[in-house]
């Protein structure tokens, strides 16, 4: 039940990983327990900005929206994405067209090879 899974080149052992997980968790919790709990509540020590900036009321103002995530990745691969989004036209006949073209391609090539 807890045995190893052999992949032909190596193996995977879940129990070793879980053991490691517990050890790591123990060290993490130990490190955390070394922190100080005697900070002054309700003062500026609670603030999330050390610089003392105002924290906006609504969290909306300080979130990065999902559309902006991986902006650089998308910018760098822009030609690729332009092509990829180009074929996702969303027109029903195009969808059928890609399918029929693929089947036709397969049908022609399986008779050739």
């Amino acid at each position: 039940m807890w045995g190893k899974v052999y992949t032909g080149f190596g193996y995977w052992d879940a129990s070793a990983w879980i053991l490691f997980f517990f050890i790591a968790a123990f060290f993490t919790l130990w490190l955390r327990s070394q922190g100080r709990s005697d900070y002054k509540k309700g003062t500026e020590q609670d603030e999330i900005y050390w610089s003392g900036n105002e924290v906006p009321e609504d969290g909306e103002d300080i979130t990065v929206p999902a559309s902006s995530a991986y902006w650089g990745f998308r910018k760098a691969l822009e030609p690729f994405y332009r092509g990829l989004l180009g074929i996702h036209t969303g027109i029903a006949t195009d969808i059928v067209g890609y399918y029929v073209m693929t089947v036709a391609f397969l049908a022609v090539f399986i008779l050739l090879v």
Binding site: V5, G8, A14, W17, S67, A69, V103
Partner: protein
């Protein structure tokens, strides 16, 4: 009468009965109808489990519809089977078990999720019908019957995708799926007709026993492979999939995942059990591998830039199906070569089959968590979410588990199946493994994005009043979470009991044929 003998038929009878009785039951009000939905899918799950146990213990089980006896496959000295025969080997039983688990979880989830909407009698009816179609595709041993079940599941899913008929996008997604699926079904019917015209048989095992490659068989193979690859959403034919998955009600999306796996099952059944050793050239295996690679890479690169949560997950479905196509394609490539098969081919098949189980579980769970978010907030756009972890701790916990599993983080089950696929496809060509690895990295990247934008971050004022979803929905998700955790913590047990018999049955073409034709192949 021994009920164990009738299990292959019962697994179809019970959801079908549920579909038929649902309109009457819904006259009795909300409670009766919800009770029916949950009870029917739970009994289906139990029957699927018993069928799986039965098949593991007694080998391939088959069932002759309308025969004098349930196992009389060759009546009165005929050389060929004539009736509709259900044939369940370990692979089918494994798939049916996966499908039944997902169907049960989706039903539990739908009870609360769909509570607000009208027309639920039809919903229950169609849901049971979709379950019937999916399970029928998995247990049938007859190629025309396979077409019937694929159509039953398609028609039920058109209705369910367009269930919210007041949403324009739902109608649009359903129409696109209906159009492409109708053309695909016609090609499947042509292929079935071609095989019938050539061999005067419709039984898959009987066709497999006499099949010799010729022009018509090649065309039939191409039509079947193309259509079924379209149905399970591989790359150039996947455009309907994110639309349909995103727009369907979430309990249904969860079941649609299992239905796409049924199409994958059909693809593998056609390639391994009907054509199998007779396939001759390595063109179709390579094309399946190429489909797999393209689906993996392009699917995930589309997913990274999405910001609709269900659409993002829909593109991940495309990319995950690629893994299974890769694993099972590598297995198909070396089907004739006993040495390579023992070396890495069987590992690849094991990886593919294990990935089917994992994918069905964690993708269904991911869709359910997305549905839970939609239920609580009424939003699907990630840009408008944030800080949900404080409000919905259980959902967050289950989302993290599912996301870690789909990204292939150890120690979760996604890692194990992906590892098996990497290491075996590496032996064919390193490029395959590289694409698979890159896909895994991008999967992790996009789920980090979902986790960070939806669950972490400061709380938004617009989301200050939301609450955790009701208990029935949480139980529905917990069923799948338990399956994921079980497969993660006991990978070797899962592999040896669940996956290996299925993989062995998939490779064993003569066993599949011999069970119907009485051995002596």
């Amino acid at each position: 009468m021994n009920w164990n003998d009738h299990l292959p038929a019962l697994i179809l009878i019970i959801p079908l009965f549920g579909a038929f009785i649902a309109p009457i039951c819904s006259l009795g009000g909300k409670t009766a109808r919800n009770f029916l939905l949950v009870v029917i899918s739970f009994i289906t799950l139990i029957v699927a489990f018993m069928l799986w146990r039965h098949v593991l213990a007694n080998g391939i089980s088959y069932y002759v519809m309308g025969g004098d006896k349930f196992n009389l496959s060759l009546p009165s000295g005929m050389a060929l089977p004539v009736r509709i025969i259900l044939e369940v080997d370990a692979f089918s039983a494994f798939m049916a078990l996966c499908g039944a688990i997902v169907s049960f979880a989706g039903a539990l989830f739908s009870v609360n999720y769909m509570n607000r909407f009208s027309g639920m009698g039809r919903f229950v009816s169609l849901y049971c019908l979709l379950t019937t179609g999916m399970l029928g595709m998995m247990v049938t041993g007859d190629i025309f019957n396979f077409f019937i079940f694929i159509e039953i599941s398609s028609i039920a899913s058109f209705g369910l995708i367009a269930f919210w008929r007041d949403k324009p996008t739902a109608i649009e997604a359903s129409f696109k799926y209906a159009l492409i699926s109708q053309v695909g079904s016609m090609l499947i019917l042509i292929a079935a007709g071609t095989l019938y015209g050539k061999y005067n048989m419709l039984n898959m095992a009987a066709i497999g026993s006499v099949l010799k490659m010729g022009t018509m068989e090649k065309l039939a193979l191409v039509f079947l492979v193309g259509s079924l690859a379209m149905k399970c959403g591989s790359f150039p034919m996947h455009m309907w999939l994110p639309d349909a998955y995103a727009e369907a009600p979430t309990g249904v999306t969860c079941l649609l995942v299992a239905v796409s796996q049924a199409s994958l099952y059909g693809l593998m059944r056609v390639c391994y059990s009907i054509y199998g050793a007779a396939m001759g050239s390595s063109f179709i295996p390579w094309m399946i591998i190429v489909f797999g690679l393209a689906s993996m890479f392009f699917g995930v690169s589309m997913a990274v830039v999405q910001h609709d949560i269900k659409r993002l997950m829909g593109y991940h479905s495309v990319s995950q199906v690629g893994y299974m196509l890769l694993g099972l394609g590598v297995g198909l490539l070396v089907l004739d070569d006993a040495r390579a098969m023992a070396d890495y081919g069987f590992t690849a098949i094991k990886g593919g089959v294990f990935h089917i189980f994992n994918y069905t579980m964690y993708k269904a769970l991911l869709f359910l968590t997305a549905g839970a978010i939609y239920y609580a907030t009424g939003k699907r756009d990630l840009n408008e979410m944030g800080g949900l972890a404080r409000r919905m701790p259980y959902t967050t916990f289950m989302f993290v588990i599912a996301a870690a599993a789909i990204s292939g983080l150890p120690p979760f089950n996604g890692f194990v199946s992906k590892l098996l696929i990497y290491e075996s496809s590496f032996a064919v060509h390193p490029f395959l493994a590289v694409v698979a690895l890159v896909t895994s990295v991008l999967t992790l990247a996009s789920f980090v994005k979902v986790f960070q934008t939806a669950f972490l971050g400061p709380e938004k004022n617009s989301l200050a009043k939301i609450q955790e979803v009701p208990a029935a929905m949480l139980i529905g998700m917990a069923v799948l979470t338990a399956a994921i955790l079980g497969a993660s913590l006991f990978p070797s047990w899962t592999l040896s009991t669940l996956v290996e018999p299925a993989a062995r049955a998939l490779v064993d073409q003569s066993g599949y044929i011999g069970a119907i034709l009485g051995g002596g192949m």
